[in-house]
Amino acid sequence: MKILVALKQVPDTETKVKVAPDGKSLDPTDVKWITGPYDEYALEEAIRIKEAGGAEVVALTVGDDRAKEVLRNALALGADSAVLLKGQPSDDPLAVAKMVASFLEGKGFDLVLLGNKGIGGDNAAVGPMLAEILGWGHANVVVKLEVKDGAFLADRETEGGLERVAGPLPAVVTAQKGLNEPRYASLKGIMAAKKKTIEELDGAGAPAVLSNAALALPPARPDGRKIEGDPATQARALLQLLKDEAKVF
């Protein structure tokens, strides 16, 4: 069994997002980069499959040198090898999906696991697109996964319920929060990862069709207002404001 886990490097959820002077990209100063949280579920699931029944786990990311950090971390957590597809992490999910698809070609992978979306961009597109390009079955937003005898069984979150999808391998599965509880890397894993090499391949050949035209922050929230007076006055004023301004009544 051969599993590819495709990971994306994303800004830490606690990063204070700033727009760069070009008005369409993220200002990278002060940004702390992390592995996409949904990708962490995908990686953890791959490692658990490996531990349970044996599998080879390859971690892959599309990006530049900075993104190697994500791969180092994946190796520390238990991935067997890591591949950096060199190229600008594009705003265009189709370009990324094409790059990953051409990497997969002829390599005999049985399963591709990814996060259901990368935080920040929130396109939730690479997984489904990849499956379409490859012509493989696909289950997204998966919270439970079983892989056995050349087939998979996946529970996916749907509006107000769960849906169980069955299909043959090879397949593409995207992970949702709840799939598992990702572990921390062990010290042994961290040390071993430092000794492994990251394979670097040219990820070019899939020109982006889309690009960001503009990036804007949500409008700043107006300051709060303090209502003065004794409790009865405050209550009356609040009621009035709820009626006249907020129009909740």
Binding site: Y184, S186, L187, K188, M191, K194
Partner: protein, 379 residues
């Protein structure tokens, strides 16, 4: 940073910090108030390799150096000193003496589970009437068929109610005085090992510290650690590493108190300005920073010498003495910077003030460190 840290050491420090801030820090105050032992956290630390950091991988440890250990312990103590003391005891005074003095069979039997975090370990030297004066212990080991039985009381035993294997000192030959003391590895899973209620301590309230009474507690022949009569050699063999560990613990608490103070000094206003703009507060912050930096250098220096295989008795004692005394001073000033709020359980500096206090007492009091240093100087 001095000594220049290697990539590996920085990676360990980062891993410890990430885990400490995400998993240990958030519940620290609640655990302190509930006196709740952080069992789940200790188990996770064990799985990650933090409970046997300097034990070779062949014996279930992480195979790292003393500097990495000090860096990690500082980060853990920064989040919660109660977790740090459990970790320190397991590493420094349970794993280390078994690694140094144990036979191959003892290492397989006791070290592997302790270093890999499957079991928690401890160290039983102190007794109600013998602390600094370790040679005054009275616990008796009496030969019986197949081994010994131990009788006596051990006081202040960290992990005493939660651990499995304890490096234990007892008198085998009363006529020989301090050369009549031997070390054993005692299995706590027996009726003769009775752990008392957790002590009602000032600080480190979520760490497990108990009195243990030994009533015919059995140790088999092959659980004797080192040679008969060399018990104190085993007990003191790991002291340098233990002192470096406690220095790192105090450093972590001190750094936290400093960081909390700086944050508070930037927001609290009196007389129309933030208190960090008052000169008196600035001198406190500057002095705290200077002491933290000095303590860090002393701790790293002792660790680096130990890693180089050099004698570091004076350096380790100096680091322990200075880092713990400065840690206590810094936490005292931090409470001052916070004013009345520093005296409230709502603010973390109140816990830091209580937690740091014991660092000048255990693993050799400050007075004992001064004796050790002066004795070396006078040689």
């Amino acid at each position: 940073m001095y000594p220049i840290l290697t990539d590996d050491q920085l990676a360990i420090q980062q891993a410890a910090r990430d885990f400490a801030m995400a998993e240990i820090e958030p519940g620290a105050t609640a655990r302190d108030q509930a006196h709740e032992f952080p069992g789940g956290i200790i188990r996770q630390l064990g799985e990650m390799g933090f409970m046997g950091m300097m034990v070779p991988e062949a014996y279930g440890g992480a195979g790292l150096d003393t500097i990495s250990y000090a860096l990690a312990l500082e980060q853990i103590a920064y989040a919660d000193a109660s977790v740090a003391v459990s970790m320190s005891v397991n590493n420094s005074v349970a794993c280390a003496p078994i690694l140094a003095f144990g036979t191959e069979a003892q290492k397989q039997k006791y070290l592997v589970p302790l270093a890999s975090g499957k079991e928690i370990g401890g160290f039983m030297l102190t007794e109600p009437d013998a602390g600094s004066d370790a040679a005054a212990i009275k616990t008796r080991a009496t030969p019986v068929e197949g081994g010994w039985v131990l009788n006596g009381s051990k006081a202040w035993i960290t992990n005493g109610g939660v651990g499995k294997y304890f490096v234990t000192m007892a008198v085998t030959d009363p006529a020989q005085g301090k050369r009549g003391i031997s070390s054993f590895v005692l299995d706590a899973a027996q009726p003769g090992f009775r752990a008392g209620k957790p002590e009602d301590k000032m600080g480190l309230r979520s760490s497990n510290t108990v009195m243990v009474s030994l009533e015919d507690a059995f140790v088999p022949q092959d659980a004797l650690l080192g040679r008969p009569g060399e018990g104190l050699k085993v007990a003191f063999g790991g002291l340098d590493g233990g002192r470096i560990g406690i220095a790192a613990q105090a450093l972590g608490i001190g750094q936290r108190a400093l960081d909390e103070s700086v944050k508070y000094a930037k927001t609290r206003k009196t007389f129309g300005r933030i208190i960090g703009e008052h000169q008196a507060i600035q001198t406190y912050l500057a002095e705290m920073e200077a002491r933290v930096q000095a303590a860090r250098l002393l701790t790293f220096k002792a660790a680096a010498m130990k890693d180089a295989g050099r004698t570091c008795t004076v350096e380790a004692a100096t680091a322990k003495l200075f880092a713990t005394e400065m840690g206590s001073w810094i936490c005292d000033r931090a409470v001052q910077v916070f004013g009345g709020y520093g005296y409230s359980r709502e603010y973390v500096v109140e816990r830091l003030y209580r937690d740091v206090r014991v660092t000048t007492i255990y693993e050799g009091t400050s007075e004992i460190q001064r004796m050790v240093i002066a004795r070396e100087l006078m040689k």
